[in-house]
């Protein structure tokens, strides 16, 4: 078996739009790319029983998540002809309106980038051991559950 290079996907706190712009700009030198697909998750100020979500605090079983992400990455690269794939997920507190997930795929033609991006998002949500605790404006909380 080849040596595994486990990439980190976790960033402390929200993902800055400037970081996303940087990531896009870096692909300007990759002139074989024709299409980029991006998905971003943003924290919603949901209302639950009259309380508003102020922020979500994310925790993860990091080692297991990175191991699992490595598998997902390999599966997706095998399935789609991608030039690039980048995934970032927040840990810690992310306020309503801030970005907590950034998935970025690129390919020569649009279809693989689009399909891979959406498949990645589904798999991340279902398979990565990450938990979001919704923090309400009255100092109570509730653990999020992906449906």
């Amino acid at each position: 078996m080849s040596e595994k290079k486990i990439k980190n996907i976790f960033v402390a706190g929200p993902i800055d739009p400037a970081f996303i712009a940087d990531s896009i700009a870096k692909h300007g030198s990759k002139t074989a790319i024709g299409g980029h697909s991006i998905f971003m998750g943003q924290v919603r100020r949901d209302e639950v029983d009259g309380k508003l979500v102020d922020a979500i605090a994310y925790t993860a079983y990091e080692e297991l998540a990175l191991e699992k992400m490595h598998q997902i990455r390999e599966d997706i690269f095998e399935k789609y002809p991608l030039n690039c794939m980048h995934v970032y997920h927040s840990l810690g507190t992310v306020k309503a309106g801030q970005i907590c997930l950034f998935v970025f795929t690129s390919s020569a033609h649009r279809k693989p980038a689009i399909d891979a991006c959406s498949e990645l998002v589904e798999r991340l949500k279902a398979e990565l051991p990450i938990w979001g605790k919704e923090l309400f404006d009255n100092d109570t909380h509730q653990w999020k559950e992906n449906i």
Binding site: T59, E63, L64, C100, L124, P129, K133, K144
Partner: protein, 77 residues
């Protein structure tokens, strides 16, 4: 034998990281029964175990000093 327990998400609020001395338990299915009787709140909940950083998909053998993670449904993204 002794195993190490870690927990996440809402389960971490009532099961703290700890070492457990267990006897007569050799597989994860037995361990689930044991955990649910030791931590009654767990029995009504959906959760998965991970044994030494591998998600438990079927009944697995447990060895001395193994680490077992108790994980509620994921909610990343």
């Amino acid at each position: 034998m002794e195993i190490e327990i870690i927990s996440f998400g809402k389960i971490s609020e009532f099961i703290k990281p700890q070492k457990l001395e267990i006897s007569g338990i050799t597989h994860t299915d037995d361990l689930k029964v044991y955990l649910e009787s030791s931590f009654p709140k767990l029995s009504g909940m959906k959760y998965k175990l991970a044994l030494n950083k591998q998600i438990v998909q079927q009944n697995c053998e447990i060895a001395n000093h193994d680490t077992v993670a108790i994980m509620p449904p994921f909610s990343g993204g």
